[in-house]
Assembly symmetry: C2
């Protein structure tokens, strides 16, 4: 049994968009709505001083959602870890459309948490979990 | 330019240890101390009801630290994303020693956030970043 983590790295984004907390909140809201994620508590947001970026961390029943922006590099790094199955989401389209990303790399990682210790991560197919 | 993310999945842990918030706080404190990480604000902790596990999320100047436990499966999933270089840390030893893990998988993922869009993630060697 395993969960899925999406590891998303976008580059070539507009620096202005990466300092716009409303855009980042909208990204989280859209993901949470579309994928029926269930936040537990309040999302933590931090804006780094000066020309720095923004970090957001959201604790989910399904695990977590995290995002970091680096305006000086035009880049955005996002993680979404779901211990329950969710359909694919078009990270690339959204980040190109809303943040003007010119390049988006989306990787999916299996996160084994089942009790069959001897089974290697790569052999897990089913996705399921404790938290809903 | 890229950061490093450690993706750690431990199995065969004692269920009791995975419901012990003090042990998880100690894990975070040890990582933060040893790797000279700089938390921004207060770590969020959530204990799922009944026999559920614990989630912890810590916003760092260097990115983030996240942990989820699944006592019913004897497993623990941890992420540490550092946008600045840090030495290796012996996740395996610690999780075997403190949580009685019988199997620990440690993966490292490069997270590109440099401004050279055309360069593939795999070619990044230098690790550096905005936030310290």
């Amino acid at each position: 049994m395993s969960g899925i983590e999406w590891v998303v790295d976008a580059q070539g984004c507009s620096a202005e968009s990466l300092r716009d907390s409303r855009l980042l909140r909208s990204l989280f809201d859209k993901l949470i709505g579309d994928l029926r994620l269930r936040p537990v508590g309040v999302t933590q947001w931090h804006q780094f001083p000066g020309s720095g970026g923004i970090t957001g961390l959201c604790l989910l029943s399904e695990s977590h959602l995290a995002c970091h922006t680096f305006p000086e590099h035009g880049s955005l790094c996002l993680n979404l870890f779901c211990c329950l199955p969710r359909e694919a989401w078009d990270f690339e389209w959204y980040l190109r459309e809303k943040f003007s990303a010119t390049s988006v790399q989306v990787r999916t990682i299996e996160r084994p948490y089942g009790s069959t210790v001897a089974v290697k991560a790569e052999t897990f197919l089913a996705i399921g979990g404790q938290n809903g």
